[in-house]
């Protein structure tokens, strides 16, 4: 009896907690509202299933608790019922997976007009490289990293000379313009994660990974490293400022190019 009541309390408590606790997604600041929607849909479907299963258990515990003279029914199988339940589950799975895959297709397809911004992780700070007037980033390689060239930028690549280099500082990006983040690492795995953008991706030494995002809200957001990268992992934080186009151009003008820094 008490077991059944506690089961009901768990369901009701969990639902109340979900709706009334102060903890939820940090406010969205990017185009990835579809991710939030898919997640809310998943909450709805799984929430209903959780409540239904546990409440049914509670009902059984109350209704079929041992009492003098009770005898369980002997019913080994019920193919019809099992078939229905399987079909219903498959339907629920399809309802979550289908929108999920459509949104994922958007996540991996970068829009043509996206600006490339390179993010270079190292223990335990964030560096950035932005294309100069040519709109293209020069090549880079960890084999080229040295005391003077901490990001491993190819000095012989003409495309790289005008690239703007921001070492350990803050990043500025323009609002409402798609950005493709190209992600590199100098040493170990890192992960470029801004909770308000919803997006993240690991950074791997020796590879270039990417994701894209269109920031939709101006403001200052924190970059968190989301892949264990050693004892300083939780201190590997950075700042990204989403600003208007004019402020962005102003900021760009105040940055140094690779050629300036090298000379």
């Amino acid at each position: 009896m008490i077991v059944a009541v506690i089961m009901v309390v768990i369901v009701v408590g969990s639902i109340l907690f979900h709706f009334f606790s102060p903890w939820w997604f940090s406010p969205l600041a990017s185009n990835w509202g579809y991710i939030d929607s898919t997640l809310v849909l998943t909450f709805a479907i799984t929430g209903v299933v959780f409540a239904a299963v546990v409440l049914f258990v509670a009902y059984c515990l109350y209704r079929f608790r041992h009492q003098e003279g009770r005898k369980a029914s002997y019913e080994p199988e019920n193919k019809r019922l099992e078939g229905w339940l399987t079909a219903l589950t498959a339907g629920g799975v399809i309802a979550m997976l289908t929108p999920g895959l459509f949104v994922w297709a958007q996540y991996v397809e970068v829009p043509q007009e996206a600006t490339d911004i390179e993010v270079i992780g190292q223990q335990w700070l964030w560096n950035f490289r932005l294309p100069g007037a040519d709109g293209k980033l020069g090549s880079a390689d960890n084999r080229l990293v040295s005391g003077d060239n901490t990001l491993g930028i190819n000095v012989d690549d003409p495309l790289g000379q005008d690239d703007l280099v921001v070492e350990g500082g803050e990043l500025y990006i323009p609002v409402d313009k798609p950005v493709r983040f190209l992600l590199r690492s100098i040493d170990v795995l890192h992960d470029f994660y801004v909770p308000e953008f919803r997006a993240k991706m690991d950074m791997i030494p020796g590879s270039v990974t990417y994701f894209w995002v269109t920031p939709t809200q101006t403001g200052t957001y924190e970059i968190l490293c989301a892949e264990l990268c050693g004892v300083g992992h939780s201190y590997m934080r950075g700042t990204v400022n989403v600003v208007t186009d004019e402020e962005y151009q102003e900021w760009l003008a105040s940055q140094s190019s690779f050629a300036d820094l090298a000379s």
């Binding site: 990835w32 005898k71 895959l101 909770p195 991706m201 791997i204």
Partner: protein
């Protein structure tokens, strides 16, 4: 299926097995230490796993101390914090859960439940335990060597795992990898034993489709482990080569603290593929025995046949197969080709279907049952709630795009603790309350058991359910210091403290359990051979606890499936598997 009654005993004469074929111990050492009796080995496995599990429990307190009350204990600095979380994770997943379910319950229950005298290779079985013991000892030693245990995270991702500024570089990482290698060798000996025993040493009449679901779960999990562990084995060997022989299997060109290392050309992602090719099946290696055991607990204590036995078997097999093609759902944001996401999200969500069938059938077994709220049943019910909760949050993480914001956050920590921490451990407790009378001949104290259940179940739910929401906010996992994170509100820090307090309470409740285990050895109520009035063979042994050889002069004959509870017309509400009589409606064989 037609209902054709026949006298099964006429066609299956009782099997005889010469006493000579078993190695009988000649001394205290060969009886209790280097024993070849699967039941003794089972107790050795279980005791070792529980002891090292308690070490992991204490480590979890230290983790929660740091997260809930940062700076309160100066001993926990960043180095030690990462060593603590690494050892907590590895011990729990491999050295507690895998060892206890397969080495502990597998060894005790397989021979008894299939009606065999012992495992088919008793000597290899003994070696299996002792290799496991050595593996555990190496882990323990790593706490005391210079530099301490490795702090690479339990996933041991390179390059970080073997670089010189990760804690435990001197000895810790080497001991960890060698310990895993020895564990896997030991497990392979045990695993081959379990598989061959189930296939070859079953009593007459015990067809595969008459096996209790406990055995199906352990059997399929063992086959999976034999296929999955080699991936971890080679990964560990290759990482040792990278660390000590200068190879670059997993190591690309990289610069550590301004210095070019001599590595080049290797792939960190390759390690992740190998690790998760082991790691995902590992989740089900833990889950399937739990699924099997919980089916038998529910059926026995609800006095009702398990609902849809055949579907349950096929669901176990289906989950076992599917779990080999879902591994990269741990790697959606790892930087692997993002188009893999379409495939792995689909396979991952498909696995929800057989899993859901199992949940429905447990619940439908309760329906129209005669439910006795004995401790094993309580723990089984706790399992259903936590498993359903954790399984459903898996649908968030499996659905690739929903995983993107949640991956590597506390949501993941909450999910896997609920689904492969709390849920299987509740089954372990339930199973210990259920089978302790067979192992010792005495019942565990009922009041202590109920106290243990309520604190553990409700406490664990209060720890891990709210934790999901911290992840939703965006709090990354494996953070030593969560102060000053912009998204962390004051209330979120308060929630962290609350979770920590619950964790201490749940941890302390386990002391009651240990006390009960020890106290009941001498003071428990004598149980008799079959206190739960269960049908399966282990409860029908001529002596309790069963001696070496299990069955006395005659091996049992099996005449029916394992779930003849409350058969209409029968004089008792259960019919043991070895009781002759006409085949009942449920028997699939």
């Amino acid at each position: 299926m037609a209902d054709i009654p026949h006298d099964a005993s006429a066609t299956v004469p009782p099997a005889e097995l010469e006493e000579m074929e078993l190695y009988h111990p000649h001394s205290w050492w060969t009886k209790y230490v280097f024993s070849q009796d699967a039941k003794v080995i089972a107790v050795q496995y279980a005791a070792t796993a529980l002891v090292i599990g308690f070490v992991a429990l204490v480590l979890s307190w230290l983790i929660r101390l740091q997260l809930g009350f940062p700076g309160l204990v100066e001993f926990i600095d960043a180095d030690r914090y990462y060593q603590i979380i690494t050892m907590h994770g590895m011990i729990m997943v491999v050295y507690l859960l895998t060892a206890l379910f397969l080495g502990g319950f597998g060894n005790y229950l397989i021979p008894l439940m299939v009606g065999a005298r012992d495992m088919v290779f008793p000597y290899a079985n003994m070696l299996s335990f002792w290799l496991y013991f050595v593996a555990v000892m190496l882990l323990v030693i790593s706490f005391f060597v210079p530099g301490g245990p490795t702090g690479a995270g339990w996933t041991l991702y390179p390059p970080q795992a073997i670089l010189s500024n990760t804690p435990g570089q001197q000895w810790g990482i080497m001991l960890m990898l060698v310990s895993l290698i020895i564990f896997i060798i030991g497990f392979t000996m045990g695993g081959l034993n379990y598989t061959v025993t189930v296939l070859q040493a079953r009593a007459r009449g015990m067809t595969l489709m008459r096996l209790p679901l406990t055995i199906w779960g352990i059997f399929v999990a063992t086959v999976m482990a034999l296929l999955a562990f080699p991936a971890l084995f080679v990964a560990a060997v290759m990482m040792l080569f990278d660390k000590y022989l200068g190879t670059s299997f997993f190591m690309p060109t990289l610069v550590e603290m301004g210095e070019q290392l001599s590595y080049g050309g290797g792939s960190p992602i390759l390690f992740q593929h190998l690790f998760w090719f082991f790691g995902h099946p590992e989740v089900y290696i833990v889950a399937l025995p739990a699924f099997g055991i919980v089916s038998d607990l529910i059926s026995t204590h609800a006095r009702r046949n398990i609902f849809g036995y055949r579907m349950m078997v096929w669901a176990i097999v289906g989950i076992g197969v599917l779990s080999f093609v879902v591994w990269a759902h741990h790697m959606y944001v790892s930087g692997m080709n993002p188009y893999f996401g379409f495939f792995f999200a689909t396979t991952t969500l498909i696995i929800a279907v057989p899993t859901a069938i199992k949940v429905y059938n447990w619940v439908l077994t309760l329906w129209r049952g005669d439910i006795h709220f004995n401790p094993p049943m309580l723990f089984a019910l706790g399992f259903i709630v936590t498993f359903v909760n954790g399984g459903l949050s898996g649908l968030f993480l499996g659905n690739v795009v929903v995983d993107v914001p949640l991956s590597d956050t506390m949501f993941v920590v909450a999910h896997f603790h609920m689904v492969m921490g709390v849920a299987p451990i509740l089954v372990i407790f339930g199973a210990i309350y259920h089978w302790y009378p067979k192992v010792t001949g005495r019942m565990l104290g009922d009041g202590m058991a109920k106290f243990h259940f309520w604190v553990t179940f409700l406490g664990a739910y209060l720890i891990f359910f709210p934790m999901h929401y911290l992840g939703l906010m965006g709090l990354p996992r494996r953070y030593f210091d969560t102060a000053d994170i912009m998204i962390m509100s004051d209330s979120a820090h308060a929630l962290n403290a609350f979770i920590s307090i619950m964790a201490f309470i749940v941890g302390f409740a386990q002391i009651v359990f240990v006390f009960n285990l020890i106290w009941s050895l001498r003071h428990g109520k004598p149980s008799g051979p079959n206190p739960w009035r269960a049908t399966t063979l282990e409860w029908q042994t001529p002596t309790t606890p069963p001696p070496h050889g299990n069955w006395g002069d005659h091996l049992p004959n099996v005449y029916r499936w394992a779930y003849d509870y409350s058969v209409p017309g029968a004089k008792e509400d259960f019919i043991p598997q070895n009781e002759p009589g006409s085949v009942t409606k449920g028997d699939p064989a």
